[in-house]
């Protein structure tokens, strides 16, 4: 706390914080690329902070380099990392000995856990659930479908990233430590995963609708249908469920998603054209 003794303690202005949060939320994927993923977006988010805290060319250059390293996480929950980086830069500008390696290792150590939690909440839970609501209205041509989805998803994206950014900034490194220690991060992740999994099960039953169409003609009037006489009696939605589980198994074995998609495309087109599936 020796830094507080110096008279002009630097503090990031509210305006710079808001600009930084907005840059993060809006432009994180501006130059999303294979080599360093969100690195340039991260640096862009730090620009207002750097402008606020540093004056010399050397300081600015060093700060930009710190934030141009490989970075990749889930955007909304990951805003916490940006807020935390802002708070670390503020401490550093006030003489707290945080070197480049420390700042980078804090950022890097957060990437994985935040991506795991964030993708589970955003892509696994919020988006599919909102989409399910929007699509069921949209299929009837109801304009509320796209509207509810658009408003809900935008509000979630910006509100959540604002909250996460400010949490990261205000609580700094302690927050991360506390989250790990109390096991809160893990429990949140488990809980979101639970809701996501149960919703995925429900969505499978509702949105994967194909059936076995081929019927074996026994005589002119009777036919044997595998779907109605066997599958439907065993379990509703048996074929879709089995298909999801087979693909899941292939993914677990390390099959590439692209190959699976092309496989499904070819198999579906042929089986559909032959009238085996419908």
């Amino acid at each position: 706390m020796s830094a507080e003794k110096t008279q002009a303690r630097k503090k990031i202005s509210r305006r710079a914080l808001l600009k930084s949060w907005f840059n993060w939320s809006a432009f994180l994927h501006g130059l999303y690329n294979w080599e360093r993923m969100q690195a340039v977006g991260f640096a862009h988010a730090m620009v207002p902070i750097i402008e606020d805290l540093y004056e010399t060319k050397e300081e600015i250059s060093a700060a930009l380099k710190r934030h141009l390293v490989f970075f990749n996480t889930s955007p909304q929950v990951g805003a916490l990392a940006a807020g935390l980086a802002a708070s670390m830069e503020e401490q550093r500008a006030n003489g707290v000995p945080l070197d480049d390696d420390t700042i980078n290792s804090v950022k890097t150590s957060l990437m994985g856990p935040l991506a795991g939690l964030g993708d589970t909440i955003t892509q696994g839970m919020v988006v599919p659930i909102l989409l399910a609501i929007g699509i069921s209205l949209g299929l009837e041509g109801n304009g509320l479908g796209p509207l509810i989805y658009a408003v809900g998803a935008s509000a979630y994206a910006y509100a959540f990233s604002y909250w996460a950014y400010m949490q990261g900034y205000v609580h700094g490194g302690n927050l991360v430590e506390r989250m790990y220690e109390s096991g809160l991060l893990e429990r949140l992740s488990d809980a979101a995963g639970f809701v996501g999994l149960i919703a995925t099960g429900g969505l499978t039953a509702r949105y994967v609708n194909f059936r076995f169409a081929y019927e074996l003609k026994i005589s002119d009037i009777t036919a044997f249908s595998l779907q109605t006489q066997v599958f439907d009696r065993l379990m509703p939605g048996l074929l879709p469920l089995a298909t999801v589980l087979i693909i899941w198994h292939l993914l677990k074995k390390g099959a590439k998603v692209t190959n699976i998609i092309w496989g499904v495309f070819v198999a579906g087109t042929i089986l559909g054209a032959l009238g085996i599936l419908a």
């Binding site: 690195a39 054209a273 032959l274």
Partner: protein, 251 residues
């Protein structure tokens, strides 16, 4: 032509950094882009119907570290536009959109590779301490890239494609169209398998997935009902033991 230009501009905006990251969350979802394209082409209701049908294929769409299940942007916009302009049924438009999304999915990784080239320019700006340079670099190459793909190709397809597409569709054997629409019913399975793979920590999590499945398949609960049940159960399981030792009683 003017409408095609508007659709091209919309696509450009959606794929560029200036969509303020609402493309992935909102505007590249066919449910939403279908409505916008329908609005431009003067048939909102049909746009929404086609967009919703295409989006049902991509409901479990995941993007993990840049690897995705399809190109929703082109599938949604081209599928809806052609569906309206070439006067297709919702099912036919869906069947038409599916190969488009698969082809687009092959182009997107190339665009990410092209953007890698600019990262070194960022290093040079950092060396100079050029803050404006970093901002420009994060916004401009992405904007130009979005113009090259998908904006210009989609503009061209919408502007000149309606007649050839209509001819193609009517020349296609009925069986092939039926086959493609069956593919549309199968493809969501890939999305759900990916979601499941991503969220399941071990095989035991299959039980949670199956609970959701049974609620919908047997009990016909809608998705909101299932989510509420899931949230209540998750709260009991993971947060109940805060403070008191109630977790022993759960089993």
């Amino acid at each position: 032509m003017f409408q095609a230009l508007l659709i091209g501009l919309f696509t450009w905006w959606v794929a560029s950094p200036f969509s303020i990251n609402l493309s992935f969350m909102v505007f590249m979802r066919p449910l939403v882009s279908g409505a916008v394209v329908g609005l431009i082409l003067g048939d909102v209701a049909k746009g929404i119907r086609i967009g919703a049908a295409i989006n049902a294929v991509y409901i479990g769409y995941m993007n993990v570290g840049g690897a995705a299940t399809g190109d929703m942007t082109s599938a949604g916009i081209v599928g809806t536009a052609m569906g309206i302009l070439a006067n297709m049924s919702v099912e036919t438009a869906l069947a038409f959109a599916i190969p488009i999304g698969l082809l687009g999915n092959a182009v997107n990784p190339l665009m990410m590779a092209v953007k890698s080239l600019f990262v070194h320019k960022a290093d040079a700006y950092a060396e100079e301490g050029n803050l404006r340079g970093i901002v420009r670099l994060n916004l401009i190459p992405g904007t130009i890239a979005a113009l090259l793909y998908p904006a210009i190709p989609i503009f061209l397809i919408v502007a000149f494609g309606a007649e050839p597409v209509q001819a193609l569709i009517s020349a296609m054997p009925v069986k092939l169209m039926t086959g493609l629409s069956v593919t549309g019913k199968l493809l969501p399975a890939v999305g759900y398998a990916m979601l499941f793979r991503y969220m399941a920590r071990d095989t035991m999590d299959l039980s949670i997935y199956l609970i959701g499945f049974v609620f919908a398949a047997y009990l016909k609960l809608d998705i909101i009902g299932i989510v509420i049940l899931g949230m209540c159960t998750a709260a009991l399981l993971y947060f109940r033991h805060d403070g008191k030792g109630a977790s022993e009683n759960v089993g």
